[in-house]
Subunit: 364 residues, 2 copies
């Protein structure tokens, strides 16, 4: 059988630094576990724009369609702020999501025991927190047409379109119900059905899929504003949350921040199964490109490493190896190793990006 294939798109800012540590782990799997990945690398985001005048070339896009999984670092930076909307670094990432049809974005918000003190929330509110946000990633206001800035009379008008079809809602809700069955069997769906018709349809379709296919899962509905409140008040009431692209963007960032461990949180973006049975997949840390600390060896590689662990689990059916990587991360944290982002106000001496990566390999 062919080796599993990976396309690495390290991107901008701290992307290349944190991805370097993932490459060490991939190497470890080759030498120590006899699992060799065929790895290719390419550009996305600002660095692709610098090289080719576009944040994602057609050639890179084609490669992404062929591999078993894409690993992405981060895109963007102030250098590109003044670029035209259509060639901004983010467009590269959005094109990957859309053309690979990665409709289910899995964003676990987990609080690591060793870091519970680090949250801005009280320890009892977040200790042991483990929720999964499933965000729709290929539709909604991110992609709806018409869109743009137009002139009407003598003024400009900015327009975007929130648009969801029944089948788009149904397939992502199935992802949420499937995940819930392997967790605590609870799904909370969030929208603004009191204000938006697209939310009315969202709520209806999620309920229909539930009643028809997943009656054993406990389903509730919440308005997204109340959801933001409840996540802040008592996040442990949730197991799996399913929501649309835009609400998911805000709510998953909020949930990530609850844990106090933004530099720690991975994500998986999954599409339909390919011919080989594996889902189309892209894995990336939740954090951004952090241009302020790029190139200084300060970045925390854990979110990117845990994204690779998600790849092991969801793309390569290597759940035990995924757990092994996760346990290694927990071990180095319990041992007290901290990158700069994990320093509390009391200070301490942070380790570098590569020292953190090495320690995780040693713990493997």
């Amino acid at each position: 059988m062919a080796n599993p294939s990976l396309l690495i798109l390290a991107g901008d800012g701290i992307g290349p630094e944190v991805m370097a540590e993932v490459k060490k782990i991939i190497g470890w799997f080759g030498t120590r576990r006899g699992v060799t990945f065929d790895v290719s690398e390419d550009l996305v985001g600002g660095c692709a724009y610098d090289a080719h005048g576009t944040p994602l070339t057609d050639a890179t896009m084609a490669k992404a369609q062929e591999v078993d999984a894409v690993l992405l670092g981060a895109v963007g930076g102030p250098k590109y702020d003044s670029l035209d909307f259509s060639v901004k670094p983010e467009r590269g990432l959005l094109r990957l999501r859309k053309e690979m049809d990665l409709y289910a974005n899995l964003r676990p918000a987990q609080c690591f025991d060793a870091l519970a003190d680090f949250s801005s929330l009280k320890k009892d509110v977040v200790a042991g927190l483990d929720i999964m946000i499933v965000r729709e990633l290929t539709s909604g206001v991110y992609f709806g047409e018409p869109r743009g800035i137009f002139t009407e009379g003598n003024e400009r008008v900015g327009i975007n379109t929130q648009r969801y079809t029944e089948s788009e809602i149904a397939r992502v809700s199935r992802s949420a119900f499937e995940l819930a069955r392997k967790r605590n069997n609870k799904v909370c769906s969030m929208e603004k059905a009191n204000v938006m018709e697209s939310g009315v349809l969202w709520r209806q379709v999620v309920q229909e899929v539930h009643d028809r296919e997943y009656p054993d899962v406990e389903l509730s509905h919440m308005y997204a504003d109340a959801g933001a409140m409840q996540l802040t008040r008592w996040p442990k009431q949730f197991d799996v949350i399913v929501t649309d692209n835009l609400f998911g963007d805000l709510l998953s960032d909020l949930a990530a921040m609850l844990t106090g461990s933004l530099g720690m949180l991975p994500s998986a973006s999954l599409g339909a199964p390919m011919a080989n049975g594996r889902p189309k997949a892209l894995y990336e840390p939740v954090h951004g490109s952090a241009p302020d600390i790029a190139g200084q060896g300060k970045a925390n590689p854990i979110a990117c490493i845990l994204s690779f662990a998600m790849a092991l689990r969801y793309s390569f059916d290597m759940g035990e190896d995924a757990t092994r990587v996760e346990k290694a991360v927990e071990k180095v944290l319990a041992d007290g190793l901290r990158t700069a982002d994990l320093m509390g106000p009391e200070g301490g001496s942070p380790v570098s990006t590569s020292a953190m990566g090495d320690a995780i390999i040693a713990a493997l």
Copy 2:
């Protein structure tokens, strides 16, 4: 000169209970301060639907246009969940906002010293917090056309339109800059300009208004997802936040929850000046109709009372009287009075809605 006029729309759930306490305060102003308000009352929301088959009659709408200020309690309840979208209780509130053209929704998120322990956030993160969220309230995805649920091929499609004109963005940003000048002179504007063209225009127009009319105010821009994170991480970095209708809905609820005092937070919705120089105005608590505790005398009337204080300040130029009401609220809290929603896990004996109202009057 004619007495200042008020239209009270107590609405559903706990609305009438909390409004009853405001009426006592209005009475106190008549007898003790010689300020008599002409008060009329009417229906909005579910109760209006029950009586008239619509959540807001044209007659009530017309009255709202004529008075100096509207005081609203809350709308909605599970009883009305299955109603058609067009007659849901919320449509009454949204019609008031739209037809009165109340474009600037002021939502202070303040942490009361006596309640800082009550937040799910650490005390040092929220103690002394005092930020003002200015939410655009008459446009965006709440009102944009086309909207609805349509059939395409053999499936349903839900559509809403996010739409902002230059002048809509400019006027609400002016409200934010004006407020900032009276506070700490800082405005942070939030959108998703990296993903939505309407956000690109939002950012441009806010910047232009700033550069042309308010160069003395410190202005920054943040993506709304990062905004949700930063509000959770260290809310005290903000002074005034200006954002659109939908982001404002989520972010202001999040900010309210940070303070741990949801039952405490008021809001003002302001439009353009009327012939008498007063702005069109509606005041309402941030909390909802809380049907689970309605009619039991358990609700906290403070948010509604503080909304009346905002009316004194923004509609009637009675800033000192507003402060007097706010100080009375602080005093009863410092004295240890708590309604049921303000009970910590240690328990205690809560006071009733009306006992809280009476205590505030005594403190006046």
